[in-house]
Each structure stands twice: as C-alpha cells, then as structure tokens.
C-alpha cells in the first residue's frame, strides 16, 4: 500500500517546492531593475496599488467620473502620495493636468531632513522635475505632497487622471 502512495507524496512534495521556488524567484525578479527610466501612469481611481500609495488621506479627495474622463476633486489639503522606488534614481519628473482656477498649488518632495522641497504648479498643464539627491527614501518609497494653501469650501480644484511619474538615472 505504501509503495502505491509514495509517487503521489513525492509529486506533491516537489510541486510545493517548485511553487515556492517560483514565488521566491518572482519576488526577486521584480526587485531587480536595470533600466534607466521607470514610468508610472497614475490611476487615481485606486488609492492603493503595487507601486503607488495615495492620494491620502482618502477623506480629502473625491473621485469623479464621467463619460470622457475621470478627475479627483480635492476637498481638503494637503494630500500625500508615496511612490515605490526599487533602486536609487537621480531625478523625479511629475507631469499631468489639474484644474486649479488660478489658485496656488505646490508639489513637494520629502527631503532627508524631513522638510519639504516645494515647486509651484504654475499652469494647469505642468511638468516638474525634482532632484532626488536629498530626497528621503523610507522603505524604498518617495513621499510627495500636494499643497493648496488657499483652498476653501468654494474652491473647485481637481486633478485629471493622466498624471505620469518618471524616475530616471
């Protein structure tokens, strides 16, 4: 009886080992990044994905979708975003659109001394470059802040769901 069951036992044993090895190799392969540029296309409909956390706190934003596009309305500020960075990069570029109705808006990057390095968003179509040499990287994540100092109840500020984050070295 035992002889008949051994092939089954060995089959499942080696299957488990193969699955475990495949899982470990997959995780290791995803951690290795050899390219010079890493591009994230943000999807504001998901506040938590594999590489991007945010925008948070979720109570400060509201997702609005219509037939043509989707936007993220800002209800309170500031709001934050975390970006996973598998290796050390030199430059972070953020580009996209937002509707700010001539209100001041600033994007900031967390620095090593816990301060923020801000850049102003001048027009609704923007592209900002950040130097990452002094950026704080905690748990392989960069932290971004969007600050709108004059935000009030009558403000109507929204982010278009077409932001792109580029990390390059």
């Amino acid at each position: 009886m035992n002889l008949d069951k051994k092939p089954i036992i060995y089959f499942f044993r080696y299957l488990c080992l193969a699955l475990a090895l495949a899982l470990i190799l997959f995780v290791l392969s995803q951690a290795v990044f050899t390219g010079r540029t890493l591009i994230y296309n943000l999807d504001f409909s998901q506040s938590l994905s594999r590489d991007i956390v945010g925008w948070y706190p979720e109570s400060r934003v509201a997702q609005v979708s219509n037939s043509t596009n989707s936007t993220l309305n800002i209800l309170a500020e500031p709001i934050y975003l975390k970006i996973y960075s598998p290796v050390d990069f030199k430059t972070l570029t953020i580009s996209g659109q937002l509707h700010k109705n001539d209100q001041g808006a600033n994007l900031g990057l967390r620095q090593k001394d816990a301060s923020w390095f801000f850049q102003s968003i001048v027009s609704d179509d923007f592209r900002l470059d950040f130097d990452l040499s002094n950026a704080q990287i905690k748990r392989n994540q960069l932290e971004i802040i969007l600050s709108i100092p004059d935000l009030n109840d009558d403000s109507n500020i929204s982010l278009v769901n077409n932001w792109i984050i580029t990390l390059s070295r």
């Binding site: 036992i9 995803q30 951690a31 590489d51 748990r139």
Partner: protein, 58 residues
C-alpha cells in the same frame, strides 16, 4: 499518518520556510515583498495549515 496528512505536513514545511525567506527579503529591502504578498495574511494561513497538519497527525 495517512497520505493526505503527509502532503499537508510537507506543504506546511515548504510554506513556512518560504515565509521565513520572504520575511528576510522584506527586512533587507523593505517593500520588496509586501507589494505582492501580504506577509501577515500569509502567516495567518500558515497557522491554519499547521493546525490542520496537527489534527491529521492524530
């Protein structure tokens, strides 16, 4: 122990060693594993498999 019990026992041992390796990877390079696998839920699953393996041993 019957065949099913042996299979579950082997599965538990493999899963446990895999979990340990993944925890080590996560400690060495934070975020590397947690992006894909929730190690906390993995651990809870290990406990359930362990309990099942112990029940089948008897």
């Amino acid at each position: 122990m019957n065949t099913f019990g042996i299979i579950i026992n082997d599965f538990f041992k493999t899963a446990f060693v895999t979990w340990l390796l993944l925890v080590i990877f996560e400690l060495l390079n934070p975020g590397m594993v947690q992006r894909f696998i929730n190690l906390e839920y993995y651990f809870y699953l290990l406990i359930l498999i362990f309990i099942l393996a112990q029940k089948l041993k008897k």
